[in-house]
């Protein structure tokens, strides 16, 4: 099988419009959570979220940087985030000037969990109040999940595989795993892979609120709302943004002298086959997903230095994941660190697995692991695990495991190592 490496990174998060700003703020233990500004959420189940900040904010996102004004008007924000993150990644990799021949072998696998929910909501209201002749002609292709891959392929002329994963909160991890396999299987030499989400809109908050998934008890200080593994956690805080990596066949990357961040060495997938929203009570799907990724990687568990957990801050999910990690790692759990960056940027749903994979890669680059914020009072099952409370921690990081689990009982795990 051909080897696959990461040669470019791109991020849009609630803590920054690019990779370095987001990472710097993550390591500084900042939180992206605040009262929702996009609409008045006072009467909603929760009124706080981790929004991507406007361009004039200290760590805001300037949509005009890589996305035409016209396209911004036509598409939902998740597509804008995705196009920008993909642009950052391909620029970082130095692949904006590929030949036509190369571009036939370069593709996209950028998905989303939900897609254009804000636009579906607002155009439904246009239909209701003004009738069918006032619905935007760009309504459909401005909301479809595969339209990040579509837009990015057009912008950069990428004529290889054009794919988009939709597996709820596992989307970002599945996207990277699937794309890595396409390269390994010789379907492509270069893939832009990742995920994006922007569902902080009335119907999104109401829907997740009714599913009893959101944190609701921290209106007075939203930065305390996302608190994975803490005894007082009460649900996830919705985030938004995008993460995209450039995956490249190893020999090709080496031959052109590319900066190589990491190698993707393991990918695991499983289904809980249990319940639409609740995780399996023994965490069996999570366990098998991690086990498969580890087996493929050829590493032993004691080689893993850092686990970026799914850790959404829901009462059930965090401990089931931790239990599965504990069973899999055995004694090796004592030598690794595990944290949830959702404590800082919230849950990016379909973007989460990709954004968190990038944090894993940066942890290897800088030999530092990001913190789990708000872990004031770890729940009882956390003993003996370094969950990196409150502050980032310098340590050896040579190999990482990233977990993502989604509604529908879909699980994905990625193992990467530094070269």
């Amino acid at each position: 099988m051909r080897r696959v490496v990461v040669t470019g990174l791109g991020l849009v998060t609630p803590l920054g419009g690019d990779v370095e700003t987001s990472w710097k703020n993550i390591l500084a233990s900042k939180s992206g959570a605040a009262t929702i500004t996009r609409f008045d959420a006072t009467d909603f189940q929760s009124n706080y979220a981790c929004e991507v900040k406007p361009a004039d904010h200290e760590y805001g996102f300037d949509a005009g940087r890589r996305v035409d004004h016209k396209i911004q008007r036509q598409v939902d924000p998740f597509i804008v985030f995705g196009i920008d993150a993909a642009g950052q990644a391909i620029e970082d990799a130095g692949l904006t000037d590929m030949t036509e021949e190369e571009r036939y072998r370069a593709g996209c696998s950028i998905g989303s969990g939900i897609g254009g929910l804000p636009g579906i909501e607002s155009e439904s209201l246009v239909l209701e109040h003004k009738g069918p002749k006032r619905v935007s002609p760009h309504f459909v292709h401005g909301r479809l999940i595969n339209l990040i891959s579509g837009q990015v392929s057009i912008k950069y002329g990428l004529m290889g595989p054009n794919h988009a994963v939709v597996t709820a909160c596992s989307t970002g991890a599945h996207s990277i795993g699937d794309a890595a396999r396409m390269i390994a299987m010789d379907d492509a030499d270069v893939m832009l892979a990742g995920g994006a989400e922007s569902a902080i809109c009335p119907i999104g908050i109401a829907g997740f609120g009714q599913a009893r998934a959101l944190s609701t008890g921290f209106r007075d200080d939203p930065t305390k709302g996302s608190r994975p593994y803490d005894a007082d956690r009460d649900g996830f805080v919705m985030g938004e943004g995008a993460g995209v990596v450039v995956l490249e066949e190893y020999e090709r990357a080496k031959a052109r002298g590319a900066k190589i961040y990491a190698e993707v060495i393991g990918y695991g997938l499983s289904g809980d086959a249990y319940h639409v929203t609740a995780p399996h009570p023994e965490g069996s799907g999570a366990f098998r997903s991690m086990e498969m990724a580890m087996k493929k990687s050829g590493l032993s568990l004691s080689d893993i230095d850092y686990v970026n957990a799914h850790g959404t801050s829901t009462p059930l999910g965090d401990e089931l994941e931790l239990g599965a990690v504990r069973r899999l790692f055995g004694d090796a759990i004592g030598t690794m660190s595990m944290s949830s960056t959702k404590s800082a940027i919230g849950h990016l749903l379909g973007g989460a697995g990709a954004v968190e994979s990038i944090f894993c890669i940066l942890a290897m680059r800088d030999q530092i692991v990001p913190p789990t914020l708000n872990l004031d009072n770890p729940s009882e099952n956390c003993a003996g695990v370094d969950l990196v409370p409150h502050t980032a921690k310098e340590r050896k990081v040579k190999a990482v495991l990233n977990n993502s689990f989604g509604f529908g009982g879909t699980n994905a795990s990625l193992v990467m190592k530094a070269l």
């Binding site: 035409d68 004004h69 016209k70 002749k133 006032r134 002609p137 760009h138």
Partner: protein
């Protein structure tokens, strides 16, 4: 430039993201201003909203330049 022309130009600038000075009366939406057929559907909708006129599909098909839009609106308004 008439009041209609001013308002048409404003809508075109906003929807197509082009510089105002490119939106001359002779400018073709597709050839000069980078619009595609769906952008024109959207522009026609915006004209209908702004001016309270109805522009049926067969008339919309004949609107290819800024001037065509202004003329149609002036002839059918109020």
């Amino acid at each position: 430039m008439s009041e209609t022309a001013d308002r048409v130009r404003k809508i075109v600038v906003e929807h197509l993201g082009v510089e105002a000075d490119k939106v001359t009366e002779d400018a073709s939406f597709i050839d000069d201003l980078g619009a595609d057929s769906l952008d024109i559907v959207e522009l026609v909708m915006a004209f209908e909203e702004e001016f309270g006129v109805e522009i049926p599909d067969d008339a919309a098909e004949k609107i290819t330049t800024v001037k065509d839009a202004i003329t149609y609106i002036d002839e059918h308004q109020g």
